[in-house]
């Protein structure tokens, strides 16, 4: 026995030393193939004329852990990489990939600290300013004008404000990734469809209506009513019920808008916030919120929804992807999924959809990148595949590009059409209701339509995401469209990234989230909030408020 053990260990040592030695030269995530990193003159003609000599572009990306590859394929070999290679003559390799997308900012900060940057990557505005200051990113004005598609440059007209933010002294240093349009901004009170219908789908006009329904649900079905998490992000989403509009505590972000005197203030500094606090504290006491909500992180919160311990969930328009498939599977009931409702308000008046400045990220090209033109071509290519109505793809290509969340594979080359979702929604809903699929132009439309149909016809849970977003009257985009068409919107008055002064105030949000959670849990009275807010002003809140008013005020 002892001999066997020794032998085993010896064998293991030899094996692992050999395989470790083979690894001594670190292997890049995507193998570097035949491409060159030297400057290559871009070919004459349109942006989509391929390079004759293969060009290599290094990048990094964060990506959900749920991307699925076809058998035999991987990050460096899939429909996208083949498309880039064959159609553009560009090979892409990855310095690193953050699978699960939880460490991207940290990893990128580390990479920035070394000063040894990949050719192209996505960053936030704080990092953008840092990179500008350090002189690590290059002026893209010329290549942008020459090597991007007309479609991408057309986004400037739809959304003229955004690119100004990365244009410094008339030169473009970063390409905003844009966004799907304000249609994806408003949030909803999602409710369990089966239980809601059991009560006769009552309209929720006032907060009281909601509270009554919540109590009924607790009596009949669940442990408590509303699932939220310990960051308070999702509880804060219910702000519009009380006419107060709030940011995301976990991101340290506030929602800034004018008060009656015309001064821009964070939502948490508006008078109405105290009303919200009173209600939340009441909800906690009455068991509408879980006594344990401070124990739940994001996943814990979702677990509560999936296990049926909660009936409501304040969330974005994409709840359908998040919890619905799991809910249906876990409850073994095809009616057990969440549908969106507009938030009720205290006096039953029309609720406003909250619209924040959507551009979280910028695509930048480092100083050391030899072929920025190739990057522009890659951006245009992704856009063409995903959003251009004139692009024709075979069924196989289409699957290759978009199945298993693979539409997110381009990472740093993913740019969004700011009108895409509104147009897409109108076409998809039309096709579902009429059965006429001839007007589904883009990959996105076909995909959302196909997914919705897979739920409607085959009860495929994976189709619930698209279905709840676009597939029926009362879906989340339908609710958003109503708000947009009637201009029932509350836009932030800080239409742009936060001022630089924010960077020096460390974690002001802690003061608020701690104080607020204590008030909700009844440890402190609501009247204490004045002190908490004063504390916040004294510890950086004032600096931020002044900076916002200086930059965005009248």
């Amino acid at each position: 026995m002892k001999k066997l053990l020794t032998l085993g260990i010896a064998l293991l040592m030899i094996l692992s030393s050999v395989s470790a030695l083979a690894e001594f030269t670190p292997v890049p995530v995507g193998e570097v193939g035949t491409g060159t990193r030297e400057y290559v003159e871009p070919p004459e003609g349109d942006w989509d004329t391929p390079y004759t000599e293969i060009v290599n572009i290094r990048t990094v990306k964060g990506q959900g852990a749920d991307v699925v590859f076809e058998a035999g394929e991987d990050q460096s070999n899939n429909e996208w990489t083949r498309g880039w290679y064959n159609d553009l003559g560009i090979e892409v390799s990855y310095d690193w990939i953050d699978e699960g997308n939880t460490q991207y900012t940290q990893k990128l900060n580390m990479t920035i600290a070394t000063g040894d940057l990949p050719d192209v990557f996505r960053c936030n505005y704080i990092q953008f300013r840092q990179l500008m200051k350090a002189g690590l990113i290059q002026d893209l004005t010329e290549v942008y004008n020459k090597y991007t598609s007309d479609r991408i440059r057309g986004y400037e007209e739809t959304d003229p404000d955004t690119i100004k933010l990365t244009t410094i002294d008339g030169k473009i240093y970063g390409i905003p990734i844009y966004y799907y349009g304000i249609i994806d901004n408003p949030r909803y009170m999602w409710v369990r469809k089966d239980w809601y219908e059991e009560e006769g789908s009552p309209e929720l006009k006032t907060v009281e209506d909601f509270e009554n329904l919540a109590k009924t649900m607790i009596e009949k079905h669940c442990s408590y009513a509303v699932a939220v998490d310990n960051t308070l992000d999702y509880l804060f989403m219910t702000g519009p019920m009380f006419d107060v509009y709030l940011g995301q505590p976990s991101q340290g972000s506030y929602f800034w808008y004018k008060d009656d005197d015309g001064r821009i203030k964070a939502g948490i500094a508006h008078e109405e916030f105290k009303t919200a606090l009173e209600y939340w504290a009441k909800w906690y006491q009455e068991g509408i919120l879980s006594p344990d909500f401070m124990n739940y992180d994001y996943n814990g919160m979702n677990e509560e929804v999936v296990t049926g311990r909660a009936a409501f969930h304040p969330f974005y328009q994409w709840e359908g992807w998040l919890n619905n498939p799991n809910l249906v599977a876990a409850q073994q009931n095809e009616n057990a999924y969440l549908i969106p409702l507009q938030f009720p308000t205290i006096d039953g008046s029309q609720v406003l959809g909250q619209v924040g400045f959507p551009n979280a990220d910028v695509i930048v090209v480092s100083n050391t990148c030899k072929n920025p033109a190739a990057v522009m071509k890659l951006l245009s290519y992704t856009d063409k595949i995903m959003f251009d109505p004139t692009t024709v793809l075979t069924e196989e290509q289409f699957k290759g590009f978009t199945d298993g969340q693979r539409e997110h594979l381009p990472g740093a080359f993913e740019i969004l059409d700011p009108q895409a979702d509104m147009i897409q929604f109108e076409h998809v809903l039309y096709a579902i209701e009429s059965g006429d699929t001839s007007e589904l132009f883009t990959s996105g439309m076909k995909k959302k339509y196909g997914d919705s149909i897979s739920w409607i016809e085959n009860k495929e849970p994976g189709g619930l995401g698209a279905f709840c977003q676009q597939g029926f009257e009362g879906c989340s985009y339908d609710l958003a469209k109503y708000l947009i068409d009637n201009d029932y919107l509350k836009r932030t008055d800080m239409w742009g990234p936060s001022p630089e002064a924010f960077d020096d105030t460390v974690n002001t949000m802690d003061i608020i989230s701690i104080g607020v959670s204590e008030i909700i849990m009844g440890i402190r009275p609501v009247s204490d909030y004045d002190d908490i807010l004063a504390d916040w002003y004294a510890n950086g809140g004032q600096i931020m408020e002044d900076a916002v008013n200086a930059e965005y005020g009248d």
């Binding site: 293991l12 470790a20 670190p26 292997v27 890049p28 600290a113 070394t114 876990a330 994976g462």
Partner: protein, 295 residues
């Protein structure tokens, strides 16, 4: 031993009960994790599983095994431990031996000792460390997890103190026979050092096996994550992982859930330590105590 008084008898019984209670508190949480990992998701979600599995299933383990990631991370950790512990032992022995000598026998002893102690006190911090690894082109390589901290100073000190506590006659006898210090170290000292080596070796194994931070910091490709780093991402991302099973996902959900899956992988991450520890345990008292407490 015979009990002499009734009081003593009661005392012994109470003592036993208390000791067993404490031991249970150390043991039951692990048992609970094990039970969850073998249970059906419905019972787990309802909070009905305690120390025995309910609705016994091995689905969670089958899932971990079929998903290449767990095994790959496991293998990375094994490699790391073999290389890391090997290097640690080698460096600790070759460092502890000279430093266990008095200043008279090895003139620069105190200089080198301070050289090591200083590293316990000061470091450059994460960012410079990362920059260094980047410059050495070690990022994403297993050596980034093995080479730094080649000499764990406090463990080395245990070994050094053990050597110091040995009677000098052992070495003197050998050197009279004409053996050089390398010979003495190899054939005279090492066999005696066995308990101490087993102890610091285990510590070093545990350190390598349990570290997740370096893995997260230095590995660029998730395929190169050691097990604990992988498990750490699992704490937040288990559902995404489940979803990767594609079309089987929804039928899978009725047979396992995040909790059972996570419990299974946590338990398997624990297993190597549970296997190795009892083998080394018998050396502990001599190896650890002589080194760390007896001056």
């Amino acid at each position: 031993m015979k009990f002499r008084t009734k009081g003593q008898k009661i005392f012994t019984v109470i003592n036993y009960i208390l000791v067993i209670f404490v031991c249970l508190s150390c043991f039951l949480p692990l048992l609970n994790t094990l039970a969850i990992s073998f249970s059906a998701p419905t019972y787990v979600a309802a909070g009905e599983v305690y120390f025995l599995p309910k609705g016994f299933t091995t689905q969670s383990y089958a899932f971990a095994m079929s998903n290449g990631k767990f095994l790959r991370a496991f293998w990375v950790s094994i490699k790391r431990c073999v290389l890391g512990v090997g290097l640690n032992l080698f460096c600790m022995i070759t460092t502890a031996y000279p430093l266990s000598k008095s200043k008279q026998r090895f003139g620069a002893r105190n200089f080198f000792m301070s050289f090591y102690v200083f590293t316990m006190l000061f470091g450059g911090g994460l960012v410079p460390w990362f920059i260094l690894m980047n410059n050495l082109k070690l990022l994403n390589s297993i050596w980034a997890l093995v080479l730094p901290l080649a000499v764990p100073v406090s463990n080395m000190a245990i070994l050094m103190n053990f050597m110091r506590s040995l009677p000098p006659e052992i070495e003197e006898a050998a050197s009279i026979d004409g053996a050089g210090i390398f010979r003495i170290l190899w054939s005279v000292l090492l066999p005696i050092l066995k308990p101490s080596l087993a102890t610091v070796g285990l510590f070093s194994f545990v350190n390598h096996w349990n570290d997740w931070f370096q893995g997260a910091l230095f590995m660029n490709n998730p395929n190169n994550y050691p097990l604990q780093t992988y498990l750490q991402t699992l704490l937040t991302n288990f559902r995404d992982l489940l979803r990767q099973s594609g079309s089987d996902y929804y039928s899978l959900l009725s047979r396992m859930n995040e909790q059972t899956g996570r419990a299974a992988q946590l338990f398997m991450g624990l297993l190597p330590i549970l296997v190795v520890y009892p083998f080394v345990q018998k050396y502990f008292t001599t190896g650890l105590v002589m080194g760390s407490v007896k001056g």
